[in-house]
């Protein structure tokens, strides 16, 4: 079995085991053209959403994928183990819930591909479900199960997408249509840094609430064109949540930002992009 290390943005390391899983996408760290085989691959803005999962034990081979879609059969789901692509007939707001069982433990890349550019979708759903869950609801997936998520341009919402999840790396397409950081999207996760897409105009209720102590380092809003609305002060971690984090904002918006509703309570965390040194 290969054992590799993924360096995260805050210097932490995630151990990635591969090499004995089933299908073509196991063996983490290989350098072929198949992006699914390489958790270290650069982000590719091809419209697809990719979720890298590490199945560490037999009890976790059964998983369930949650999303919503704007069109019946609008999303092709490839679980990355050579099994046929799956589709779902439900249309938003109804939830698409697809169960899958891997034959072997290992590293896999789940790929969601919209069948056309007009198809939009949300990862997770508004009933408090991650995109990736155990099929057996009586167990909890291991801490390193969902390691990295690259979110494609067709994604318009991430409700509850990463609440209490172990994801370490989240990348957004530069062409994503995301208008808000959805409710509870990153609540109580361990990912240290988020680069907020430029299209975002709202931080919904609780999107960064109860953030794991000392995990969060950076919420990078430097590309935003206007100050987004902030649902309430519980949406962001504040006093008493371990190591202080920084909210990086465009220099030109700094004065407006620290005077904006609810952001005004986070002046200690807000810094101008030009004054932030990582």
């Amino acid at each position: 079995m290969n054992i590799l290390t993924l360096n995260t943005l805050n210097g932490d390391k995630v151990i990635v085991r591969g090499g004995n899983g089933g299908g073509g996408n196991s063996g983490g760290g290989s350098t072929g053209e198949d992006i699914g085989a390489n958790i270290f691959a650069p982000f590719i803005d091809d419209g697809k959403t990719r979720i890298w999962v590490q199945i560490l034990q037999d009890a976790e081979r059964g998983i369930a994928l949650n999303y919503t879609q704007s069109l019946t059969n609008g999303i092709s789901v490839d679980f990355g183990d050579g099994s046929p692509a799956r589709f779902h007939t439900k249309v938003s707001p109804n939830n698409c819930y697809i169960e899958h069982t891997y034959e072997k433990i290992g590293l896999y890349c789940i790929t969601l591909t919209p069948v056309s550019d007009s198809v939009t979708y949300e990862l997770g759903n508004r009933s408090y479900y991650n995109p990736l869950m155990p099929k057996d609801r009586s167990i909890t997936l291991s801490a390193n199960t969902m390691i990295r998520v690259d979110i494609g341009k067709g994604c318009v919402g991430i409700p509850y997408a990463f609440v209490k999840s172990p994801v370490r790396v989240v990348n957004f397409s530069p062409n994503i249509q995301l208008k808000s950081i959805s409710q509870e999207a990153f609540s109580d996760t361990v990912c240290p840094k988020f680069i907020i897409p430029k299209t975002v105009t709202a931080f919904e209720n609780g999107c960064f609430s109860n953030y794991s102590a000392s995990s969060l380092r950076i919420i990078d809003c430097a590309s935003l064109m206007a100050v987004p609305s902030l649902a309430n002060t519980s949406t962001l971690p504040s006093k008493g949540y371990g190591t202080p984090y920084k909210i990086i904002v465009p220099d030109a918006l700094y004065d407006e930002w620290i005077a904006a509703t609810n952001w005004s309570a986070f002046v200690n965390y807000i810094v101008k992009a030009s004054e932030y040194n990582d």
Binding site: C96, Y97, Y128, Y129, A202, T233, T261, N262, A265
Partner: protein, 72 residues
């Protein structure tokens, strides 16, 4: 009823005020239309608020929810 109360004084001396509904409804910022469950504003912010008809939901716990659209 809309309640407005002193929240805190920031390190830079700016006073902040908290606005919320005492009946746990969302509030609407009249000037922008934005909806909040609470609003912290600087002392001289030009905003006024009205209650909406929507109640702020209690937090859900995933363990108590069930899928309705399950498809294997």
């Amino acid at each position: 009823m809309i309640i407005r109360e002193f929240y805190e004084t920031r390190f830079d001396g700016v006073n902040l005020y908290r606005t919320y509904s005492n009946t746990k409804h969302y509030i609407k910022q009249v000037q922008t239309g934005h909806i909040y469950s609470e609003a912290i504003d600087v002392e001289n912010a030009p905003y006024t608020y009205v209650e909406t008809e929507d109640l702020i939901p209690e937090p859900e716990e995933p363990e108590n929810s069930e899928h309705n659209d399950k498809e294997a």
